[in-house]
Symmetry: D2
Subunit: 383 residues, 4 copies
Amino acid sequence: MKIRLGMVGGGTGALIGDVHRIAARLDDRYELVAGAFSSDPIRSKESAAQFGVAEDRAYEDFATMAQEEHVRADGIEAVAIVTPNYLHHAPARAFLEAGIHVICDKPLTTCLQDARELQALVEETGLLFAVTYNYSGYPMVRQAREMIGNGELGDIRVVQVEYPQDWLSTDLEASGQKQATWRTDPKLAGAGGSLGDIGTHAFHLIEFVTGLEVTSLLADLHAFVQGRQLDDNAQMLLRFNNGARGSLWASQVAVGHENGLRIRVYGDHASLEWFQEQSNQLRYSVLGETPRVITRGCSAAGDSANAVTRIPGGHPEGFLEAFANLYRDFADQIQALKNQQATPGNANLVPTVTDGLKGVEFVEKAVLSSTNGGVWTSLESEP
Amino acid sequence: MKIRLGMVGGGTGALIGDVHRIAARLDDRYELVAGAFSSDPIRSKESAAQFGVAEDRAYEDFATMAQEEHVRADGIEAVAIVTPNYLHHAPARAFLEAGIHVICDKPLTTCLQDARELQALVEETGLLFAVTYNYSGYPMVRQAREMIGNGELGDIRVVQVEYPQDWLSTDLEASGQKQATWRTDPKLAGAGGSLGDIGTHAFHLIEFVTGLEVTSLLADLHAFVQGRQLDDNAQMLLRFNNGARGSLWASQVAVGHENGLRIRVYGDHASLEWFQEQSNQLRYSVLGETPRVITRGCSAAGDSANAVTRIPGGHPEGFLEAFANLYRDFADQIQALKNQQATPGNANLVPTVTDGLKGVEFVEKAVLSSTNGGVWTSLESEP
Amino acid sequence: MKIRLGMVGGGTGALIGDVHRIAARLDDRYELVAGAFSSDPIRSKESAAQFGVAEDRAYEDFATMAQEEHVRADGIEAVAIVTPNYLHHAPARAFLEAGIHVICDKPLTTCLQDARELQALVEETGLLFAVTYNYSGYPMVRQAREMIGNGELGDIRVVQVEYPQDWLSTDLEASGQKQATWRTDPKLAGAGGSLGDIGTHAFHLIEFVTGLEVTSLLADLHAFVQGRQLDDNAQMLLRFNNGARGSLWASQVAVGHENGLRIRVYGDHASLEWFQEQSNQLRYSVLGETPRVITRGCSAAGDSANAVTRIPGGHPEGFLEAFANLYRDFADQIQALKNQQATPGNANLVPTVTDGLKGVEFVEKAVLSSTNGGVWTSLESEP
Amino acid sequence: MKIRLGMVGGGTGALIGDVHRIAARLDDRYELVAGAFSSDPIRSKESAAQFGVAEDRAYEDFATMAQEEHVRADGIEAVAIVTPNYLHHAPARAFLEAGIHVICDKPLTTCLQDARELQALVEETGLLFAVTYNYSGYPMVRQAREMIGNGELGDIRVVQVEYPQDWLSTDLEASGQKQATWRTDPKLAGAGGSLGDIGTHAFHLIEFVTGLEVTSLLADLHAFVQGRQLDDNAQMLLRFNNGARGSLWASQVAVGHENGLRIRVYGDHASLEWFQEQSNQLRYSVLGETPRVITRGCSAAGDSANAVTRIPGGHPEGFLEAFANLYRDFADQIQALKNQQATPGNANLVPTVTDGLKGVEFVEKAVLSSTNGGVWTSLESEP
């Protein structure tokens, strides 16, 4: 049985809505049956028609949708929230209160209090909650996590992460380009610019892959484009709970980069490097040996990578497949809950509301560090 | 309205069946409603259940399926044939005779006469017929074709194509591995080993990308693994209708290669290089200028690439998306036919039964050339 | 006429001595005629014999050498100082006082006061002084400098530099390995470990290529190998005089890297990337255009690269050629001085005593920043 | 003691003369003391002055030079012949007859008879003779040879070699460009165009690296530039003495390539790939394992690579160093002969007059194969 899925946001033409829909469809585990696709009711209806959603389940707003789906016998079991950042918290809360599992885009919320509230609500309700830090869905990212978890790198010493893009190198928001407009507006995006949009991905990736915790950070945020209200470049240093050191660079003014997320982890025995634009490969170097390239589907790939590998090595899988992996894992979680069975281990790799909360904390602390002139700032939660 | 799709072959666990199903699903244009998924009736039923196909449309054989679907009001409009090579011709013929459009895996048939018969039948019936030379679905392959068509390379002089793999480096068929077994058995695969399995992809890619015709070829086929009945390595030289020269190397014993399809086209003004394992990139060099890299989704991408681009540059799309592009194009063809409208230009890039026929000719002539000791052999069709 | 050259340090088997000798020989501009090759007089004599230096000019110590060469009619015109860091200052001073031009390895000295003294002495004597920040000799590094100087990148926004190596990942000094021993001993190497050995190269490269000045830095230095007295990993953030931001990472425990010096410079119009291990290439990306690769010897190479290019593009030149470029430039400087002519512009790119002084300041300020807990520290010279 | 070296050809401004001089100088084993640098006596004198050669040893022609150097007590011990192809044979013969060792550029001669005569003369005189197939001097090429010789690849099955350049994509000879003019003129270059200029390098590399013999070849030669008298593109298939198959592509009209010599060797156990433009790396793939990159100077490098490695891994050595390796090896040969000692094994890797002869045979047979329409042609020497 497919899982009945609803969507908030993501009307026709919204890039990220398409991505979520393809991701949900790829493995045939979901059926999109309801949506509040747009704040414009007509556009919401039109979108519904296009997506094969019945007219009576094309809602004008998320609140009505939560309410009505809650009471239907065939109501949705899960909802995907794909609105701009400022519009994550309210719908997430509404659906949780309606007993519906939530898949929410990142960053979870635009302020820490909202994030904490959602976390509490998840604990209280026992519902499932995924935050789509989608890069954690790549097979070679999971391979890296598994290898590090198995101790194949030894003690981790250095973690270098960068996420350069160039699409905001000019004042694109002045042209009214939709993606640029909301992402550079603190009212819609929150306190982080590149920090919230891509820095949070990089931050999640670090902790996901290494299994370490960043205990303090130091950030130098800057907006290079004149008049821009939020950072478009973030330079950061990191310290980890095991004594490791690291740096994180996120930029949306780095000319020549499309989506250059790259993570490198150095242990005292070996190192790993993964680059999102060549996502099927993982560079692996053991001290004193010649460097190797592990590929998705190759004989050296481990269980956690193979669990999310659909086709043999050499035939590239990409971004959509990685995104779909989160949807598939989440489907496994829902199914296990329905069946009152244990979730298969692999399916628990989906980022949770707690990961979402950590991302919001990360944004807040980085902004704080930078505002204070670039000083070391603790990330450890207060008791 | 989604197109009603049936499938022959591709039962649970069959790799290529999964690929076709994902490809059909990705853009939500098809609904899989019938199938003869296996020659084993129980396995066919089980597969149907798993794929969400009603029990009464899980057929025991393709002939029954063609017959019954033909008479149903809600019968399938198209069928995907994903069986081993020797089992392409009979079902293709049966469904064409039942008035059903066909999507057929490559190579089209195992002998020329069968291929010609199918071509004739397509002409006669006016039905649509696609052969899944799937590499032609990659955006950057279409970009290459468009640029060459626009004359951006000048006169083509040299075409170098290679398709190395290593998965048949040992006597894998002796272990009973299913993929290896049928591909190395002339009764199931036809006269070509690596030639038919991957050489035909390479050959189609050459003519698809360059718009040229190969007029003669010279082949040195060899089986390196002892006891193997079909070639596992094919070295070829090519001559083209415009005087260009080229070479084609297909190998399944090339240790260190996963799926290394690569095409390079050199004109008197510029050149292009595309490598399947980094499928989002196209290297472009103009004489006297510095080489550039065109990426899927970048500003230099043209209409035919953009038409099959789902997500922004830098987020890799891969093999499944390319395969899905053929399915989407074919859906557009079917839709246009139903609506008695012209097919959008882009949708006509799907390889046809004639391309399938040319691939079968290619295999026959290459085998002939090699059997004769490696001599130049004409590929031009007799009048 | 060849320039008469002497050498301090660099006896048989000393890697860097060989490098300087090959660099001096490559373009046939120098003749090695004297040396104090080792503090061990016997080894100094043996080395001299091997290098074709007359026995009476194989000195037991640099002081005697400076004195005696000073009074010879055919005394050396220039001396190369290739001893460990702590032994740069005294010989440099001695030869300057003897009226002999100096080529000195980096870092210039182990304390700021010594560096300032040398700078003053150079000014006073009017002698020539080169510090072998050898990476500035690479043609594609000079190409980068020229392009940035010409404004081809627009306003510089971000500068990312890294210099990872892995040869000190273990406690190599415990084994008595000579290169490791002195580099990890503060008495011989000064206050910087990886910072002084490779961080100074990275720092010089930044200012050389961009033409900007680093105005403040923040450093987090760490020794990962237990018991090591000097840093083996340095994480730094940088701020520039034009408002640009940057980061610098130098590490000698970064498993999997041999000599991975890499610089990336992002302007508001374009960016450049150079990687030492593929030194013949320069990646160049203009905003909104496809990225290109400029190669040594290609049509896009400018005057300053071509001036130090010996062979056509596609035939790689490497580290020794880049090192030799500094020697050749320095020969041009000496020749111009002798002829009382202006030095050809290109020859003035050789790093000077002032560059050497800045490197020493860099080490001191980075150590200070880190010792203070990782705080922003000004690099601007006091008036 | 340095070896006294003379040179024929290579006057000021001649690229290849500079290369030979730098190569001879790099390791300080030769002293250039005589030359017939140009057929123009004034230019020969001027060149001599520039190269530090005494005026009385700047000869007007090679014959006089051979004669006079023969009788001098301090006459040259070896001569480097760096003239266009048609002018290799006569000077080589003259110096052999004068008892002087010869270093000759490739191809050895423009006809087979001349090459055989030289081979006989070398045997007769017992003199040393090197042909500068310089790519065999690269450390990673020697590493490949050593690994294959040690059986690390298993039985060799396939050898793919290519050597694409683009500098003759247009009718450059019409402009009078010197390098292009003689290379495209059969009177000066012999019967091979790209075949002789670069195809011979590729051919030598194949046999040098694999230790196999090419027993027959099939060539399709073509001149794409209108009016050009010699081939500018050569497509070839190869068969080897052990049953291996291969292909060789040499082109000087392959737009986008500078000096793209690449060799790939596939055994039944492992494969190797080397690319001249990234000459410090060797890709090594064992069947069933992840591919690795062996670098010059790394722990996996063997004796024959280490013997020609000057500086640590990660600091690239290039074309000039590889060329110098041949000169160094040849110096070792001369020295061993003088000392009546065995030559160190490594020094015997320098290509000999027999290798030169094989290269001339290769050109003749390839031209024959192509002239006959592209037919298999034996390369095995008649008894």
